[in-house]
């Protein structure tokens, strides 16, 4: 039973991180925006939904949309002064912005909702789990997994539709370092960057919201920059510029990340040591993938246009 519960836990984590990785893939994989602050959106989403549902007693669905809206807005705002920066500077700015979010929730220890919500370093517990009373303790994780799966599917479909549209085509041209070209074609490159950060931020916030309601407890030290690194590993290993790859990358990395928990039965190494070794395992995985599959496990798809010469007839597997 313990192992089975663990599998459901893994599946939920894969779903939540799958959303985070899809969101980063939209920003980095398709648009070339090196967002090193993905955990900032995650953190913001987790805290916003906690404040909405726990402190103000609003329903889960409001917390979900609220955290998406605020995290999306945050993405838009941090992109305004930085949209013209080069990739390396982007990385610095976004890394810092995620730390700002974490520091904010670490230091703002307001008491809201008659003491149910108390911010600060010790974290917030007792975050309500949606529709918990309708299910038995054994059945609830399955229900929660269903919620996560629906969210993941929605994120996948929305992001996939965007990246395959003319909108996505402009993003790709921005990624290729061809600001000049996109501008010469009348595309508002800065506007596209802002929108991409907003959409990516929204889904980052969604992942944070799902995470908070699953754990029931959040604290600032769960949102360290390391989390961003893990999401990056997912995008790179899975294959940047490919949405399926991002989800697949999340699955692989989550397996690697948690595998050490059961390896202790097979390898004569202490559990504590093994836990520290998991980052090494992910590092080795990245190196191997980079050496043998430069573009990740699932490569970016090349749209194929098959057109018959001398006719207007156009068919084939291609995006809009």
């Amino acid at each position: 039973m313990g192992f089975f519960n663990f599998l459901i836990y893994l599946a939920i984590m894969m779903g939540i991180y799958g959303i985070l990785s899809l969101s980063l893939n939209l920003q980095y994989g398709f648009t070339g925006l090196a967002n090193f602050g993905q955990v900032g959106f995650f953190c913001l989403g987790a805290y916003i939904t906690t404040i909405i549902t726990l402190a103000f007693g609003m329903p889960f669905i409001l917390g979900l949309f609220g955290s998406m809206a605020i995290a999306g807005l945050f993405g838009y705002i941090i992109a305004i002064p930085t949209a013209d920066l080069r990739e390396d500077y982007w990385a610095i700015v976004t890394l810092a912005s995620a730390e700002i979010v974490r520091m904010f929730f670490l230091n703002e220890d307001w008491v809201v909702g008659g003491g149910v919500y108390r911010g600060g370093a010790f974290g917030v517990g007792g975050i309500p789990q949606p529709f918990k009373s309708h299910f038995s303790a054994q059945a609830y994780p399955f229900f929660y997994f269903a919620i996560v799966l629906v969210c993941l599917l929605a994120a996948y479909l929305i992001i996939n539709k965007l990246t395959r549209s003319p909108f996505g085509r402009v993003l790709k041209s921005i990624r290729e370092g061809e600001d000049r070209l996109a501008q010469a074609m009348g595309k508002d490159v800065k506007g596209f960057r802002l929108k991409t950060m907003a959409v990516g931020g929204m889904f980052g916030g969604l992942a944070g919201c799902l995470w908070a309601h699953y754990y029931g407890f959040i604290s600032p030290n769960q949102f360290l920059p390391l989390e961003t690194f893990i999401v990056w590993a997912m995008v790179i290993v899975g294959g940047k510029g490919n949405n399926r790859g991002s989800v697949f990358g999340a699955v692989i990395i989550i397996i690697f990340y948690h595998s050490t928990r059961y390896l202790k039965d097979y390898i004569p190494i202490e559990e504590v040591t093994l836990a520290s070794l998991r980052m090494v395992a992910i590092g080795i995985l990245i190196v191997i993938v980079m050496l043998f599959m430069k573009e990740g496990i699932i490569k970016e798809k090349k749209p194929i246009y098959s057109m018959v010469p001398n006719s207007d007839h156009v068919k084939g597997n291609r995006p809009l």
């Binding site: 549209s165 000049r180 959409v199 749209p303």
Partner: protein, 263 residues
């Protein structure tokens, strides 16, 4: 159509443009020539908004444009190609071309989700145009190839194809025939002329190939060290002493225009 008045631009100590003024007439093909480093490309970059001018004014169809962003200038109807042809590496030739048409419905997130049928219809129309343009520039068979795998000359052709799809009123071509094979240059010249004759486009081009200049240009503007030293028909320019002096620094006029004999 385009009026440039007293344009100045310097990079550090180098005065790239030192008071350049000229007009481009509607429906004309105007050539911008000059030795390397004379300010031709800088002039293009200032007109299209990629470099901020130091001083001077630029009017396009009566509207001042020198303080606008590049994408705003493009939207007004000035399209350009680049000297070193830009081509998004990991986008296929088709994707490159589908990117070009301006003001596409599907570039708005809202429309992507709520106006799918219109986007589809628009794309079908673009694809029809793309097929004929691809054949014109002989890239049809390479349509599913990544632009990063094309040769320099093919990238030039791709950027020309892109500009045709972008469909601006004024087209700025930065060395459209550099690196393109000689037989194709003839086709390109015909294509550029037809753009003007059949579709009423105005064209301003930087070009080093004198055969191209004298065959298709109505007017030639000659820059040297950031100053306009001459302006006139190709024939007038050929006989201008100042031009020959700046351009050839010693070699004969015949050498410069030796390919012109057939025209």
């Amino acid at each position: 159509m385009l009026r440039v008045i007293d344009l100045y631009k310097s990079f550090g100590g180098i005065q790239a443009l030192a008071g350049v003024s000229f007009d481009v007439e509607r429906g004309s093909i105007t050539g911008l020539i000059g030795p390397n480093g004379s300010g031709k490309s800088t002039c293009f970059n200032v007109i299209s908004g990629f470099y901020a001018k130091d001083s001077g004014e630029i009017y396009f169809q009566g509207k001042r444009i020198e303080n606008l962003e590049p994408f705003q200038i493009a939207r007004l109807g000035i399209g350009r190609t680049f000297q070193i042809a830009e081509a998004p590496e990991k986008m296929t030739v088709m994707e490159n071309l589908l990117l070009a048409p301006k003001a596409q419905t599907g570039e708005s997130i809202f429309n992507v989700f709520f106006r799918s049928s219109r986007i589809k219809q628009e794309t079908e129309e673009h694809l029809k145009k793309i097929v004929s343009i691809l054949k014109l520039v002989q890239l049809y068979d390479l349509r599913n190839e990544y632009a990063g795998n094309l040769s320099g000359g093919q990238r030039k052709l791709l950027s020309l194809a892109r500009i045709l799809l972008f469909d601006p009123y004024l087209i700025l071509l930065d060395e459209p025939t550099a690196g393109v094979n000689p037989t194709l240059i003839n086709d390109l010249m015909v294509a550029i002329k037809r753009l003007r004759d059949e579709r009423g486009k105005t064209i301003l081009l930087v070009e080093h190939n004198m055969r191209v200049i004298s065959r298709i240009c109505d007017k030639v503007i000659v820059l040297d060290s950031g100053i306009k030293i001459a302006e006139g028909t190709p024939r007038e320019i050929q006989n201008n002493e100042k031009v020959l002096e700046a351009y050839l620094s010693g070699s004969s006029k015949k050498q410069l225009f030796h390919e012109d004999t057939g025209s």
